[in-house]
């Protein structure tokens, strides 16, 4: 079969980094070709060259055997290449329908036909089984729903080549199933799919072949059923023995206690405790209210009822400042919007929550001490960055995530609320983050971990809380938590709440 698409000797340099170094890639019609690699390996860069976002410094691209130049996103579209980007490319102020049709709104006599646009969007969303109102503003949607809109936007194009850069990172089990059903249907229609994911179990399930990148170079190409261990070895250059290396510690005193927290329309009577040395997982479907819970605990959204206690004392003036001072940290799920400060350096981003801890006198920041600590964190988290002074926006997604976690370590938080802590993080780094969580709990910290990744919840939690419709519908000790029981609790009554 002739490849639908070929890339030969692609090279791309950024200031201080060679992101891609002579990489070859090919895609057959009807194939799902998985791109694997650690954070910063160059996967997104490669596909951005395909989608017209970047111009390569060297190499060539062929479609149907003919060389093509992809100078802009519009050109990529004309060639039938459609992309789901890793970092969302939606316009928050516009509606879902308009985002889906962005740049190709249906027009009648030069006038945008909103009716037709909304009908088409509604049809598309229904066909994909996505429950989002086409007239909702994207700004009002949570991360998961945005991801689904992004998917709908790409699928609306009827492309020959579909690129998916970590489409499952923000989705929970059910949405992933739904997405895979769609991908299989596209495959049958002869669409070639480039699929990027850090979830290795998805590789064999959906993919045909796997291309592995490391440090911008091609490591090799294998069949998708090569097995997890083999793939990991190719990606990280060593084998990773244990995927979820949770080391239990004896729980100590209660660090975080939530009593009857309620917030109209989103949370109902939520109570929980996190002890020192404990990881408490929070599972649930998209829209279960987990993020809302985290925000309410951290004092970002005012609660209507209930209270939050840290080390036995209630938070007096709920809000991030008080929470931080009391040793509570919050790693948000929306890394771009609420996590990183794009124009600032890695060091500055790491220091963001601890500036007050590194003061000389009352106002001078002791940059020396701060930078030494920041360097330690960068090393211990293995954040890949050319220097501490690199602007964080140029780091790969996974490395940005590590920096955001590192921020709270630098701030010395004892209670960490982590909302999707390993979203978009590669296998190697994931294990490093898990090790980090182990280390933190061993040092007496308590972690509240919200995750849509079932294996992660089951593998890393000491206790699992399951949420549905803004309530905690059940609590399972680690030994009793199985996928079936968690899913059972997660779907209990969720229909009513999400509707």
């Amino acid at each position: 079969m002739r490849p639908l698409l070929e890339m030969r000797g692609i090279t791309k340099r950024f200031p201080g980094v060679v992101a891609l170094d002579g990489v070859d890639f090919e895609l057959l019609p009807g194939e799902v070709h998985v791109l694997l690699g650690e954070n910063g390996a160059g996967k997104s860069t490669l596909i951005k060259i395909l989608s017209g976002a970047y111009r390569p410094d060297g190499g060539e691209i062929l479609m149907d055997g003919r060389p093509v130049e992809i100078r802009s996103a519009a050109e990529a579209r004309r060639l039938g290449i459609s992309t789901i980007y890793q970092e969302f490319n939606l316009v928050p102020q516009l509606t879902v329908a308009e985002n889906i049709h962005l740049g190709r709104q249906p027009r009648r006599f030069g006038v945008v036909d909103r009716g037709a646009m909304e009908r088409a969007a509604r049809e598309l969303l229904e066909r994909l089984g996505i429950r989002v109102d086409p007239r909702a503003r994207v700004a009002d949607l949570g991360v998961a729903r945005r991801q689904m809109v992004e998917i709908a936007k790409a699928l609306g194009l009827r492309a020959r080549v579909l690129i998916m850069d970590e489409p499952t990172a923000a989705l929970s089990e059910r949405e992933v199933r739904q997405l895979f059903r769609i991908v299989r249907r596209l495959k049958e229609e002869g669409v070639g799919v480039v699929f990027i994911s850090h979830h290795l179990e998805e590789v064999a399930e959906i993919g045909e072949r796997v291309t592995v990148l490391r440090d911008g170079r091609l490591v090799g190409r294998v069949s998708a059923d090569a097995g997890r261990d083999e793939l990991v070895r190719m990606m990280v250059g060593r084998s990773i023995e244990e995927q979820f290396p949770r080391r239990r510690t004896e729980p100590g005193e209660v660090l975080l206690e939530v009593r009857g927290l309620g917030r109209r329309g989103v949370l109902r009577d939520v109570s929980l405790r996190v002890r020192a040395g404990e990881i408490v997982g929070v599972a649930g479907l998209v829209g279960a209210g987990r993020t809302e819970l985290a925000r309410a605990i951290f004092g970002l959204d005012p609660a209507d009822s209930g209270e939050v206690l840290v080390e036995g004392r209630p938070l007096e003036a709920p809000g991030p400042q008080e929470a931080r001072r009391r040793g509570v940290g919050f790693v948000t799920e929306d890394r771009q919007g609420q996590g990183i400060v794009p124009p600032l350096s890695v060091a500055e981003n790491l220091a963001l929550a601890s500036l007050e801890r590194y003061l000389r006198g009352r106002v001078l920041v002791d940059r020396g001490r701060l930078l030494r600590r920041a360097r330690e964190i960068v090393q211990s988290l293995r954040i890949r960055t050319p220097s501490l002074e690199q602007e964080i926006r140029y780091l790969s997604g996974g490395n940005q995530q590590k920096a955001v976690i590192g921020r709270w370590m630098l701030a010395g938080s004892r209670v960490l609320i982590m909302d999707e802590p390993t979203r978009g993080v590669d296998v190697g780094a994931k294990v490093e983050i898990y090790e980090l969580m182990n280390r933190l709990t061993e040092e007496g910290a308590g972690i509240l971990m919200i995750s849509s990744e079932m294996p992660e919840v089951l593998g890393m939690s000491d206790r699992v809380l399951v949420m549905s419709g803004g309530r905690i519908t059940g609590e399972l000790p680690a030994e009793e938590a199985t996928q079936e029981r968690v899913m059972g609790l997660a779907t209990a009554g969720s229909e009513a709440a999400v509707g």
């Binding site: 017209g52 990529a76 006038v111």
Partner: protein
Amino acid sequence: MASLARRVRPRELLSRGGPLGGLVLLCAVMAVLSPSFLTVTNFFNVGTQIAVILILALGQTFVIVSGGIDLSVGSVLALAGVVFGWATAVAGLPLAPALLLGLGAGAAAGLVNGLLITLGNLPPFIATLAMLSAARGLALVISGGVPLSPIPEPVRHLGSGDLFGAVPLPVVLMIAMWLLTAAILRYTYPGRCMYAIGGNEEAARLSGIGVGRQKLLIYTLSGLFAGVAGILQTARLASAQPQAGFTFELDAIAAVVIGGASLTGGVGTASGTLIGALILGVLRNGLNLLNVSAFWQQVVIGAVIALAVMTDTLRRRRK
């Protein structure tokens, strides 16, 4: 589509379309304080007085919605007026080509702004600041620093005539431009692109929108609107003045922002801009009616602008 329009409009006016609450409050206070305020003639007075600023502000709305800023509108107004005045009063051209030249000068200045921003890669603030200076200079050079007249009767009529013996023509023109702006923003492809570019330029680009071309169009439109405002100003004053529109850019931007648009882009409506211009216009009109002393006027204007917009923000927050 009709049903959609019905659904969207009142909501837009009330919540996104700007501080209607502030305007209503302001009008109520004025009506109580001055018996002359709530009359038909005064209503049209205010309309005539804001016409020029509103037309500038409507052009500015395109720019601000798309995440940019156009500081040059006041100067471009003067340039367009002077080019028109020169063409008709000095070069003796007939009306139509003179008008075309004037409007063309406005659009050309806007196009240059757009080129500086897209090809020259300048921030809009810098590009249009440069044009603010250059267009004013050109207006002075072309006019020799003096007002140009006579202005042909049809144009003078535009400044002082009325429709059905009641509605002043500047008000008619202003309403036409407002409807045009609303239609462009809401229903056309370039209009929707403005929101997309202002909301997330990268996303717009990656969605295949020709961002550069759209920006050229956006700034050209703003220049063209400034040209229309320049002709109208010339018509009202019956002479083309090189110093016309001095510091009008601030009023125009203020009208857009008071009307609820955000300088970070992606938000803003034609109705909001209208309300913003009305707040400024009613305020100045009212202060004149009340004969507030020159010094205190400025204090009051400042306080009322803050209050008018705050009313709205608070109202919206309470909801």
